[in-house]
Point group: C2
Chain length 257, copies 2
């Protein structure tokens, strides 16, 4: 019963793991948070590609059957390389989010919220050319969530600072193109107003994982008692403490990778 | 004319480099910012020691005559190891800051502001046992300055959030025990009030560097036309852009390490 592997720079990818654990309750899962080097989203393209390949290699050594890149920064810089290099299926969070966004908007005016590197890559904008896109880099959102401050007034203040250019732009949807941002969705929603639909790729990604495993005949039998394992490159206890705030499944042990 | 080497996780150590360049105008300097892996201050002790040794090794390969650890997080975790391992003199920013703080306080009540890892290490607190110390970890200060937001209202808001426990504590001095924090000194001063003296170790460190080189007979002759070289592990252009905001000497080129 080979596991599915996911990685992200920190706790953000847990928003994806959560939906996969719900949608595919018989699958063994391995999560790797590269917390020693986070945040990824303000790093150079070279560093992002290098770290992404190293993280994928770590999960490959755990003998995974499918790799999920649960980080938009890594997806926007290294999806093609990973698909080319790895002998197993690779799924990202980019395509599911883009589909959901295209389906959601009626005004065809949308916000794209992501890390500095994701926004600068222009990869999302290229795929959203039929829409009027307002791209906004929000570099402090990741450190905010990694410090567990997502419900603190400081989060609302920072959200207001980043998102004020959206006022009066007539957008009706915003893509949370960073897996950390759903942890701030309450404060983002409050800032952009109730008429803007926030799109996060977790549920669609989980569906895509199901279809992919099904297609490759890799789904676990329904009597599997699954295991979720956690690895980090930084402080295991800090990760565990943060993760418990919003990951609703038991976190038995977090190991140093 | 061997150079002096300094490293920090990002632009923070430039506050030290600046004073050394002023106090020792004939010295060649090499600065390394490990921007691909910053911030260091929220990483695990293991990761901090590992990264610090790697950064020191990089500078040793540049054939430096003296190493300055321009980062309190690295100092609080790895000074002894570095002093033990390296064949050249090693200076940190901890001892100078502590001396200045002890000289400055009359009320013997002081604040210690640093990264989560520096505060958690307890190293400063141990050396300040004669004082009543209010230690405060300010994890968002480094990302704030690395995003160039030190003069933005968001910085004032975050400073207020971290420093409000100091109200009414009767402190008369605060040690900025992170080389990034002097970039926020205006906003910190405004928050803690004019009666609190902010202590940063840059000038004292520069003096100590002078004495150390003098003692070891390593000072450059006064006709040397010095060179300052910059290396980063992340995005050279981003570093250059940020550094220009507060480093008053020409930055000709920033190289990828």
């Amino acid at each position: 019963m080979l596991p599915i592997g996911l990685f992200d720079s920190g706790v953000g990818g847990l928003t994806i793991l959560r939906e996969i654990a719900r949608a595919l309750p018989y699958e063994n899962l391995i999560y790797f948070g590269d917390t020693a080097r986070l945040p990824l989203g303000d790093k150079s393209p070279d560093a992002i590609v290098r770290f992404t390949l190293e993280n994928a290699k770590f999960l490959m050594r755990q003998n995974i059957k499918l790799l999920i890149v649960a980080c938009h920064t890594a997806c926007s810089h290294a999806m093609e390389i990973l698909e080319h290099l790895l002998p197993i299926p690779v799924l990202g969070v980019m395509a599911p989010g883009i589909s959901d966004l295209l389906a959601a908007t009626k005004s065809k005016r949308v916000a794209l919220l992501g890390t500095a590197a994701t926004i600068a890559s222009g990869v999302f904008q290229t795929q959203l050319q039929t829409l009027q896109v307002y791209p906004i880099a929000c570099p402090l959102f990741v450190p905010l969530t990694e410090e567990g401050l997502q419900n603190h007034p400081v989060a609302a203040y920072i959200a207001k600072y980043y998102l004020s250019p959206l006022q009066g732009a007539g957008i009706d949807a915003a893509l949370l193109a960073c897996t950390h941002y759903p942890l701030l969705s309450a404060v983002i929603q409050q800032t952009v107003g109730p008429e803007v639909q926030l799109i996060e790729p977790a549920c669609s990604t989980a569906q895509e994982v199901f279809h992919c495993l099904n297609r490759h005949n890799l789904l676990n039998p329904k009597n599997t008692i699954p295991e979720i394992r956690f690895f980090v490159s930084g402080d295991p206890e800090k990760f565990r403490r943060l993760a418990k705030m919003f990951f609703p499944f038991p976190i038995k042990k977090v190991q140093l990778a």
